[in-house]
Amino acid sequence: MQLSGEPLAEAMGRDLKHYKRNDPCQESVCPPGIYYATLHAVTTEDGGPSRVVDIPGFSSAVESYEYSKQPMNNVAFESGAGTSLLFGPVLNPNGVRGTRALELAQRWVSHMARASNATGRFVQEIDASHPLGWPGLWPTLQPFAEWDPSIHPTRTAGCSISSDDNPGAKGALACGDYECDYTSLHLPNRDRQVVPAIGPGPSGWADWKYALWTLNYLQSMHGSKETAVESVNPTQLAYVGVPGNSIAGGRLPGVYLGSSNIEGFQAGNFIQILDNQAAQWLLQLTTTSGTTLGGFANLPDALRYGPASPLRWFPASIRVTERADASGFPAPAGYAITEPGSRLLDLAGLLGAYATAYTLTDQANADVGGSQSVRAYFDGDPFPEQNQKPDGEPTLHDRALAMIRVVVVNIDRMHLDPATGLLVDRASASGTGISRGTTLSGEAAAYTLLALRTARRALDSQLALYSNTTPDTAGIPTPLDAFPPLGGMTFGARLDTLIATVAGMFYDRLTTPEGRAYAGWDVARATPTDDGTSLDAHTAAVRGLLIGYLATGATKYRVRAQAVFDQVERAFYDPAARVYRATPGDAIVFTPRRFALLQSMLRDTYELVAVLPGNDSMAALIRDRLGRLNKLVLDGWDDRDGDERIQWPSECARLGPDASGRPLGLGGLQMAERALTGESGAMEDPLHPGARVLAEDRDHDCVPEISAAGLPAALASSVTFTLTPWTVAQEGQVVRGGRWTSP
């Protein structure tokens, strides 16, 4: 959740301003990342900075940005794989349908576009072909849990912002990069491609990402020419984003919401989604029976929710019935519970999401909610002012607090086994009481601990965009302490107890002093659920232990994390494939979650252990692992000869034919990319200077562009690598039918 590649690169000693994400690569042998390494003090003959290949630094600082962001945009704005925001209870409080619903959305989008100065270039005049102004914009309220992401993109979209990164030198090139026209990114056969089910898990984990990126987008305001504006005269803050305002800030008068036109606009939409979702979960999508849906009577009722309240929880899966609507967006016709239980991992997603969202509204948080760039969103326009008290006013501030409250209370009430004091993954309830599962998985425990700590830091007004690397401060009162106690404690104290409980699970039960980690714990039998031979268990354990260290300051967690990290190296790293394997055998399978756990293990270990004085060899090892992992698993580039150059396309691990029948790398977990994903913004035709060529993989990084892939810039559900013996004599060859052959 905290895919914080930039701080990781900085922890590696990289200076981010020296990276150039659109460095054109027009050679046949392309470096996978260019870094102007002033740190290395190497200069060229003409005295300029040396260009060095820096795979771990570049992939962490630049590419992870896009790996994180583009799947999120695909869910929130592009694919249509979710219920429509047009029918969100805050945006559309009376539940109107048809053109009246569309008008509400149009009003919102137009207003937000003006406030962020995104009109014209991105948000166009509303007409039949642009019902929401932004071409193809399809804002979702609740994402569906599952869908087939295949699309039928075109190469003719006439909207590009790729020149943003290199204006002048290469010129703008109108190409199908889809950054500002989503029309052909929709699921072409939505009804057949989606499973129309929503749940707290898909929503929570998508929301967490929305909230984090909103923090990112709201780090500054911007001027008319999109220059960053850090502050304005406080008396003028209310006018930021007002069309035609003349506030001095940038090169020309006028200051607008968010860090740029597009990011200011998208951030506003993320906030709208988060607010509408919270209202829907709290007031419509809870259950007290497991069979029917309902909600709290009102927001104050949710804020007061406690151990003595009637049990009310979020069911794990809800099927949505939709019907065609004159608005052009499908309208929900009904909701039905299909899985009534409560899942700990789902609650962790919601908790992390709304803890992060609360931070946006918390003016005591000087770096986020207290900053001018964020307060400008919550000064009555576009979002209501908030009194900073948890008193149930209809604002994101109070809805987020209520979500935190309800989730934590239900983790405590439903998922904490009273006999052992330990958490379990699953729980359900009926008239006869709460029925709990008997196991806790390491993965759920890790993410639950992350979410609990995120909530603690948010309520302490300490949460910021990037995860910190120093232990938290204990004992800060929370705004939820004034409500009924939990287990005889204030809310904050109970939160600390839960954090200590989960952290203790990792230390006392899920790992051994030798570094072995178990995939889960059977609470009933007081034994591990497995023999401790899974990669995911170990990476989750490192993640959990290091969160435990940061949450409590207790160094025993960090020491244990080191032991588990060492075990990962010993037991799971395959030096032949130069990658970690989850299981024995030929296949090396990666899912986004496995990749996330592995990468976050490497990142956290680097930032919390390897950077400590005396750990230079560990730092070097992790940098090597990170570079290989990012490029192989995400991009599908196998640098099999180890020369740090892409022999394109033969070193692309998965090859398919392009439109002309030539070999084309088809990516790794990253199925496709748009121009901004990485290294190349535009490509000049080497045969015809001044002309541009459209290519399937302009930057030759083995990830095809959207048009060529017929897939969005999102992650596959899994990627499986198989190993085939290779020698240097087979340089330049590709595998066909299990044999090396010339491409």
């Binding site: 401060t473 160094t555 400590l612 099999r640």
Partner: protein, 697 residues
Amino acid sequence: MDVAVTRAVLWLCVVWMSAGCGKRDARPSGDVEVAIGAQQTRARPSPARARQMHSGSLVANPAGSLLFVAHPDADSVSVIDVSTRTLAHEVLLAAASPTESPLGRYEPAVQPRALAVDAAGATLFVTGQRSGSVYAVDVASGTVKASAHVCSEPIGVLVSRDDAHVFVACSQDDEVVELRASDLSRLRIAPCPREPWALAWAADGKTLLATHLLGPGVTAFATAPLARRKTWPLADGVAQGLPCRACAAHLSREPHGPVRGIYDALVRPGTSELWVAHIMLGIDTPQPSLDFRQTVFPALSILDTRGRPLARLSVQGNPGDAGAFGDVVSGPHALAFSPDGHFALVADASSEDVLVVDAERRVEAALVRPLRGHLPEGIAWVDGKIYVQDRNTETIEAFRLTAGPDGKVSVEADGAPFRSLSSDPMPVSLRLGQKLYFSANSDDVPTTQNHWVSCASCHIEGRSDAVTWLFTQGPRDTPTNAGGLLDTGFLFRTADRTRVEDYFLTINLEQGGHFQMSEPSQRPLLKALAAFVNEAIPAPVPPSTDASHALRGKALDDLRARGEAVFSRVGCATCHAGPAKTDSGSGNPELNLKGPVVASDTPGGVLLHDVGTCVKSGPAPDVDHLDVDGDPRAACSFDTPALRGLSDSAPYLHDGSAMTLADVLPAMLAASAKPGIPPEALSSEERRALVEYLRGL
């Protein structure tokens, strides 16, 4: 994030690159068990009758069978049986256990601070900071067999190799004293720079070393006979930023600044290296840039046999820095080494942890955090175990250190903490306040972030750090808290606050903490903190000798009496009046900040004076500002400071511009002169008498 799901599973191909990779059966598969041997560090058995190498509040007898613990807050020392971890004796050094006075003050009469045991392990010598005495305790019987008043605020103590002599660091007299061990009679005196604190033997076993709590460093003494040889200053730390970070923001976070809080020194076994524990203060960063990460830096300085610096280890300011500690610790207070000298152990009183340093590589090897007690002030390695003394909780914690063949170190608790005192006479509320005052343990209380700063980081020993900070209001010398603040009128140099609880603002602004008076759960904590400051930090004991170390006893008293007459005659007492020698709050007993600022005693007014000391230029001049309630305060109008414990609070004036009391006189004599009349000219004898009077307050 598991939100984008495709039903198509993508089968890819990755190839092997190395020659041996074709052997599939050679590939690691699944889980590979690797036996990790962990061996206990081979601590050499303690040689019988090992010599105590430095003073401390926790020491062991040479056989390693007994631990001795000083209890400054209980006026006693304990003898603990190591094998059973039970109290063998509890030796009360005062006539009775301390109690709160009718006025609510809690001031132990003796305040034992350091211990030294003779080579036979038969006699334990104890310094009493407040009593000024040294006590000889018969270990076997647990009785005091002799005591003698030695000096003002004795702290460090050590016994000579032949057990014939005892050496004592007299912190308020700026002397080291040699006593005859048999009867504690005084043999020799060796003056030295300010505030000698801990004592240690140099590597030669003959040279006595004394740290100076507030700088400049360490003084070496010959011991046969006792004579000062040389003082080795510990130079101010210099920021070691990388060239690409050559900007103030980064450099100010690099460990740097004047050296203070030199609490301990110890020779590393098997070497001639002298390790010195101290802090550095980043006083060059002005507010508002100054934050808790730029204020106080823990450090270990390593010196050679001639006091030349070999290395200085401190916290890592930025990734890649050649620092030694990856973790921030605060308040390094006591040192110990493993017998082979491979590991240095540092008890950090404020961050409440034990830092383990690989002394060979000079990098952090481990950090023991959290401890289970509070305010660790003593540490000892005894027969393969590490013992830590927690002053606040009066407990001892034991640990066992193991180092694996890969060099990785782990430190595990060895059993539960055990009591070092049967009954704590200090009231619970004052213990709470004491913990809060000394704690930078942000895992426990929100007095700071990431274990950086406590109240005691700057108010060292509850007193001053002898530096000037560049605050928003102007340059400010750190005032002492000793003796409490109840009868000193308004607080802050310009009467900006009225009660200790208001210092939650300092905790938040300067320490990075999180306290609010309005928060119901935190009000009791602030109240406890205020109670500790006001009731349980004793005023310093004035020096028992004059500045030239020539006068003592009645001769000194007579000189101070003459100085008092001068003090009254020249008009000092006009403003420096009353028991605390201040007119702050005159006419305004409720200390109402809203009252008008006045220059003469006016009912309801806030009495402030412009005495010509205002700083009007430079990087941090005095400026107009607001008090805690938002009332305006002029840049140059100052609250009259109390004069309690004056000898201990150098430098002087609000900006620390007067290094000595003699330096203060010109400005104050001018301020006390009537308008239009030149200040009275004092003879050198009158000046000397006046200064001595002030030193005696």
